[in-house]
């Protein structure tokens, strides 16, 4: 690393293309390549979304959870996450600024705040993943792979989604969870759904007011098409299984690909946040130990800052393409 050379100052121009240090320039070109990786992912998302434009899940119906309340509120939680990340970007750039003035105390404080912001963001993402994976309402998958959800009309005539457990009959569940103590000791199975398909179909007979939200979108209104009566019966005849939550094979929100892209893109971004936090922690301790003060400049903060801002930059796009558009 040329920054350790004693005869060169960081702002020196000799042998430096673009007047930038080697480390900083390489960080920039790494970020360009990383930006292309993320555009590949988001581009693939766009490709599949346009392919299934008339059946893709509507984000506002999926990401509605907010902690401490059960009222569905789209956008609020993800907006909070966005603010956390933007704010940690601000503290990072303040650390860079303090580094330019060789103010060790300020750099320490701002680095610490940046790390805390990153941890809050990661925690929020973990919470969101947990809710996405466990799900709450449940749905039924048909033989052709389509996911159907169940809705009811409220007093004003708007449809709202209801959970399978709210209307399924409570007949004795003949299926017992296979555990190691009550079965073949070397075999295990995924947890048995709390309600079975038979119970759901049985429950629907007693609740004629429940309609079915199909995957199909009315492109003029940009809303999911809701059917009831004969058409609903036709769909239910094709029912295959009860689905709760999400995994890579099936999810209760709609297209399997939607869940896969969600896990993959937000997961890859979350991994960037995680490595950013680790880098920031290493640098935080180096600041405390006085490494950069001895070196005579705080350029390392700037380089880590570039990475951290890039993570924020990517989130801005993920936010737009996953939650807004």
């Amino acid at each position: 690393m040329d920054v350790t050379l004693p005869n060169q100052s960081v702002k020196g121009t000799e042998g430096r293309p673009f007047n930038a240090s080697y480390g900083k320039m390489m960080m920039w070109f790494f970020l360009v390549s990383d930006a292309l990786t993320f555009s590949g992912f988001l581009g693939a998302y766009g490709l599949m979304r346009y392919k299934f434009i008339d059946t893709w899940p509507i984000a506002d119906h999926v990401f509605t959870h907010v902690p401490f309340t059960h009222t569905p509120m789209p956008m609020i939680y993800v907006a909070f996450m966005t603010f956390i990340l933007i704010f940690s970007s601000v503290t990072m750039v303040l650390a860079v600024d303090a580094g330019h003035q060789m103010n060790k105390k300020k750099v320490t404080i701002y680095m610490l705040l940046t790390i805390i912001g990153g941890l809050i963001f990661l925690g929020s993402q973990a919470w969101e993943w947990k809710h996405f994976i466990s799900g709450d309402k449940g749905a039924i998958q048909l033989n052709d792979g389509q996911i159907i959800q169940f809705v009811k009309k409220d007093a004003e005539g708007h449809y709202y989604q209801i959970g399978l457990k709210e209307f399924a009959t409570h007949s004795a569940n003949e299926r017992v969870q296979h555990t190691k103590s009550e079965g073949i000791w070397y075999k295990s199975e995924a947890s048995v759904p709390e309600v079975t398909l038979a119970q759901v179909l049985d429950g629907l007979k007693n609740h004629p007011e429940i309609a079915i939200k199909t995957e199909n979108i009315d492109l003029a209104k940009r809303e999911k098409i809701i059917v009831s009566g004969v058409e609903a019966t036709k769909l239910l005849a094709k029912a295959k299984q009860v689905v709760f939550g999400a995994n890579l094979k099936v999810n209760e929100y709609g297209k399997t690909l939607f869940g896969d892209f969600f896990f993959f893109i937000t997961g890859f971004h979350g991994f960037h946040v995680l490595s950013g936090i680790l880098i920031n922690i290493i640098i935080f301790f180096n600041v405390i130990l006085g490494t950069y003060e001895k070196r005579g400049h705080y350029e390392m903060i700037e380089k880590a800052g570039l990475y951290w801002h890039f993570v924020d930059l990517v989130w801005v796009f993920v936010f737009t393409f996953f939650y807004l558009v």
């Binding site: 673009f18 930006a35 704010f87 003035q101 800052g305």
Partner: protein
């Protein structure tokens, strides 16, 4: 470096304010989803989505220029970064999104 540089704190907070306002506008529009913005189609998507895309690019500009200090870099370092990325990303997205529509049409032709 031996000498201390001028502090940009005021500018940083200004940019933060701007980014926050843009995010709030996005969230507001995302919740309201006004029909006159949402229920139309201009070049493949609604006006609302074009607004979101434009606001996102404005945010990206401010993050890159002021937080990542691109503004203070040499002109050609900036260009080698921004132009490469913008050209390749625009190229990739144009073909992927066009192809997505083609896949959609082919699928509906075959299976509907």
């Amino acid at each position: 470096m031996a000498h201390a540089e001028k502090s940009h704190t005021a500018l940083i907070w200004k940019v933060f304010g701007l980014l926050s306002i843009i995010t709030l506008v996005e969230v507001f529009l995302g919740i309201k989803k006004y029909d006159f913005l949402y229920l139309n189609n201009v070049l493949g998507t609604s006006w609302l989505n074009w607004i979101f895309l434009a606001l996102t690019l404005v945010k990206a500009y401010y993050i890159a220029w002021y937080f990542m200090h691109l503004k203070e870099e040499k002109k050609w370092l900036r260009r080698s970064i921004v132009w490469s990325a913008i050209f390749l990303i625009a190229y990739l997205s144009f073909y992927l999104l066009t192809e997505g529509t083609a896949l959609h049409d082919a699928k509906n032709l075959l299976f509907n």
